[in-house]
């Protein structure tokens, strides 16, 4: 049996699953000031009367790193950045102890200007004086040639506790994002490590010596041990848990929209044949764009607890949340109160809800029921608009070959899956208001925790070969091989696949879940003068996000 745990803003959902389906689920309140205790309480409750030998895996989706960043509770770090020609890296400053240094590498990975060790030594002294223990080192084009980062890293080695090199955060090109991602990695490292070490210790003490996995923002998992070196990847895994929960129940060979209606926000994502669409490069955190792989989600400030008010004669729903619905003892009217007025929510204080909606109804000179319908319909309409928008956004992604432009896949979803608290009511209305077939995800109230529990381990590998230079490299994987002139795209895909397999197993995948997908493979003849001097090959492969082996067809009874 496996456990899935998803820490949400107000509640933490925990499920216990076997290969047939949901065995048990619990909800515990989230204490943002003590997530450790929240997680442990959740785990304790779900494992009451369960023998620890029966549990084979536990997957946690937590907001720990996200919170650490939002609350600026990160470790103070130093950043050493070398740019060379181009936009001044001063523009990408992440923090106070941020130093730009000389040295540069060009687009083919050739050294243009060497590292100046004396200059680096000067920065070392200033960082040490500032009491810095963790340092990030980032160079432009380091994913083509990591030599400068490793050289600087080796100068720092003896003076600091931990060094973070830019080429190890991602194989993708994008210097500003590499700077931000390395910074977050360095800054979140300690909090992440301490947190999960204590979770592991507590579980060990109780006799649960089971593999712990952490959910990442891309909807895949990573083993606890490996996550220590990738703390950034676990940022913002919340939407991923829900989307993976919907994936379990999504039909094959179809484009599907997933809508997770929460208290404060509604998140929208898209699945193509049960595989979620990813952000092209990575998510944005605290205003910084990163290379952290993530699902493409659209978050709108419209949820069950969104405040409803009249402004300038117009109805406004969200984006702020002032508390729970009045029907549940909250201070001001919300979308949920509209549902309560319409008699759609049992166990709610409808009288309080009516009381909340009344002033709004008066402002419009309408009945309370009609106003409640209007609020509900407006919410549904806004969600449907955003669905159209995210689909259009995915389809308008620029492509760079004639073939892709003419034949490229266009997403055309006809089905929506809804989950989250008020899912059943919304699903019905969304179905009525649109041409989509709208269904509720079975076990919609805990589908997020199910998604976390069942997500397979994912990762990505980029490989770059230049047969003119006689090299195939994947700096992120510490891979650099001499290749001859006949090396080609097929061999490059095979090499990248081998690296991916190795990496996947290392970070916790089981061999039966290794399903490789070639994301990009492109080969160019390099011509100088009138003769071909070599081939320039770029390959990107990934483990396809999905559900772990053996759990693909679990059936979940509606409700409990």
């Amino acid at each position: 049996m496996i456990i899935g745990l998803d820490v949400g803003g107000t509640h933490t959902d925990v499920v216990l699953l076997d290969k047939k389906g949901l065995v048990k689920d619990v909800k515990v309140p989230t204490d943002p000031s003590d997530l450790f205790n929240t997680v442990l309480t959740g785990l304790e409750k779900i494992t009451e009367d369960i023998h620890h030998r029966e549990i084979t895996r536990v997957v946690l989706s937590t907001t720990l790193t996200t919170n650490a960043i939002a609350q600026k509770k990160m470790t103070r770090v130093g950043m050493i950045v070398s740019g060379g020609p181009g936009i001044d890296p001063e523009n990408y400053r992440t923090n106070g102890n941020y130093y730009t240094v000389s040295g540069s590498i060009d687009h083919r990975g050739r050294e243009i200007q060497p590292v100046n060790p004396v200059e680096i030594q000067g920065v070392v002294e200033r960082l040490m004086d500032a009491g810095i223990r963790h340092v990030g080192v980032v160079g432009k084009f380091s994913t083509r040639n990591p030599d400068h980062e490793t050289t600087i890293g080796s100068i720092l080695e003896d003076s600091f506790e931990k060094i973070f090199l830019g080429h190890q955060v991602s194989g993708n090109l994008n210097f500003p994002r590499r700077i931000a991602t390395t910074f977050f990695k360095a800054a979140a490292y300690s909090a992440h490590k301490a947190f999960f070490e204590s979770v592991k210790k507590s579980l060990d003490k109780k006799g649960f010596e089971i593999p712990i996995y952490i959910l990442k923002a891309d909807g895949g998992t990573i083993s606890f041990e490996a996550s220590i070196d990738y703390p950034g990847q676990t940022i913002l895994s919340g939407p991923a848990a829900s989307v993976m929960g919907a994936t379990v129940f999504a039909p094959e060979n179809e484009d599907v929209v997933v809508i997770d209606i929460g208290g404060t926000t509604t998140d929208i994502a898209v699945l193509i044949n049960r595989v979620p669409v990813l952000e092209p490069l990575g998510i944005e955190i605290s205003g910084y764009k990163t290379l952290i792989r993530a699902l493409k989600t659209r978050s709108i400030g419209l949820g069950g607890d969104s405040a409803v008010k009249v402004n300038d004669g117009k109805l406004e729903i969200g984006p702020e949340r002032l508390g729970p619905a009045m029907a549940f003892g909250g201070p001001s009217p919300t979308s949920t109160d509209a549902l309560s007025v319409l008699g759609l929510i049992q166990n709610s204080d409808r009288e309080k809800a009516v009381q909340g909606i009344t002033p709004i109804a008066e402002a419009f000179g309408e009945s309370v029921e009609k106003t409640a319908s209007m609020i509900f319909d407006d919410s549904c309409r806004e969600i449907l608009n955003q669905v159209q928008d995210i689909v259009a956004n995915i389809n308008s992604k620029p492509v760079y070959t004639v073939h892709e432009l003419m034949e490229g896949y266009q997403v055309k979803p006809e089905k929506i899956l809804v989950l989250g608290g008020p899912a059943p009511y919304f699903a019905k209305r969304l179905d009525e208001m649109s041409d989509f077939r709208v269904d509720v995800v079975p076990a919609w109230h805990v589908a997020n925790a199910i998604g976390a529990a069942l997500a397979r381990t994912t990762c990505e590998v980029s490989l770059f070969a230049d047969t003119g230079k006689g090299l195939a490299v994947s700096p992120e994987e510490k891979f650099s091989n001499k290749v001859n002139r006949n090396y080609n795209k097929t061999e490059a895909v095979k090499d990248a696949g081998d690296l991916l397999n190795k990496k996947a197993l290392q970070i916790g995948a089981s061999a039966e879940d290794f399903e490789m997908e070639v994301v990009e493979h492109i080969q160019f003849n390099m011509v100088r003068g009138f003769s071909t001097t070599g081939k320039n090959i770029r390959v990107k492969v990934q483990v396809k996000p999905g559900i772990i082996h053996g759990y693909g067809s679990i059936s979940i009874k509606q409700g409990k």
Binding site: G83, G84, P85, G86, I87, D88, N91, Y92, S104, D106, H107, R108, I112, K140, F141, L173, N174, F175, P176, R177, G287, K289, S396, K397, P398, V399, Y400, T401, V402, H403, L405, M406, I522, F524, N525, M526, V527, G529, F530, S531, T532, N536
Partner: protein, 437 residues
Amino acid sequence: MLQTKNKTGLVFFPAFDWAIDPTHPEREERLLYTQDQVLEEGILDIEGIEEFKPELVTVEDVQRIHFCVPDVQSVMTESHFISAGGAKKIGTVVLEKQVDNGFALVRPPGHHAMRVVHGARGFCNVNIEAIMLEYLRATYNIKKVAIVDTDCHHGDGTQDIYWHDPDTLFISMHQDGRTLYPGSGFINELGGPNAVGKTLNIPLPPNTSEEGFLYAIKEIVLPVLDDFKPDLIINSAGQDNHYTDPITNMNFSAQGYAELTSLLKPDIAVLEGGYSIEGALPYVNVGIILAMAGIDYSKVKEPDYDPVKIRQTADVTDCIKQTGEKVLTCWQQRERLKKQTCESNGFEERTRNIYYDTDNISERQAEKIRICAECGGAIRIDSSSDRGYHILAVHIPAHACKACRETGYQWYDEKNKGFDMILLQDRTTDQFHERKP
């Protein structure tokens, strides 16, 4: 965080699967390193820079400008429809005010493609700027437009298309035609009788460097633009004036291109040539994008950039100054020159041989224009090629006067034998007609 001064649109279409042939300068690899540089610099993430996906132009878009022989599909590949569509997309988002300015970083290029197209010349099949501009004119209310061609080669295709258009000022600055393909673009090429002075050529001597290019922009181009007051400025932004370009002999740089762009302030820039794919294009393109967006580009430099090493000689400087004086004189006398030509009522004719170097086709062309003080004038083109095609093509400009319109239809309706096709661009109704002889 970086923030642009202008909102800048970008269409990037490197056509990674299209080449004229495997070792041709116009091959798959051409924008590969530019893509690497643009992606690594994070340019597409900058607040205020927005990337757009190109659309495809339609056959109708192409027929506003070109008479394609035997037809549009035969002279264009999918890649040309996309490249022209990239320019069209940028033009659209600029005129829709979604962005302040825009750069179509697309290939294949187009500025050697003339009004009649029998095949490819100078790596160009159709004129992507002209297709964009005439679409914009047909859709939005713009009349006066300046096209400034800063490619190293004379923009003879664009010159041909706008030769008779008094509303389009075409300025080309390029390496002297006596030393480089296509061998034209001399000071005395000033436009047809109805549009004298609306074509200006600034031939620059080989080895012109930053000083010379910026002089030509500041002292010749900008004063003329100030005078002409265009509704729209289009830059045919070829990048083959670079000191490392393999097929030209100039000494321009990324810094120079960026400064030229910030001086010229084009509403729309469209990539043309540029074949130093590793040493120049990655840096020049980044420089141009930053200049258009209004972001500091002072650190965008080629790894081997040395302004002293590429500095032009005093002879070059003198030569450009003299050229500038002559060009400005022509510009200032344009009204007088037009008056002179328009006095001789009737028609003007010219015959030309046009060689399509890329496709090895020879064309023989006889062109006749109605001299007209009111409009651009109706044009009749009798064109035959050594591929055996013989066509009659008639063009009636968008703002044609009644007489020119009638003349155009007379030519089109005349009983004529010996032609394979008789074609008419009636821009007053924005329609293309074709009839069997």
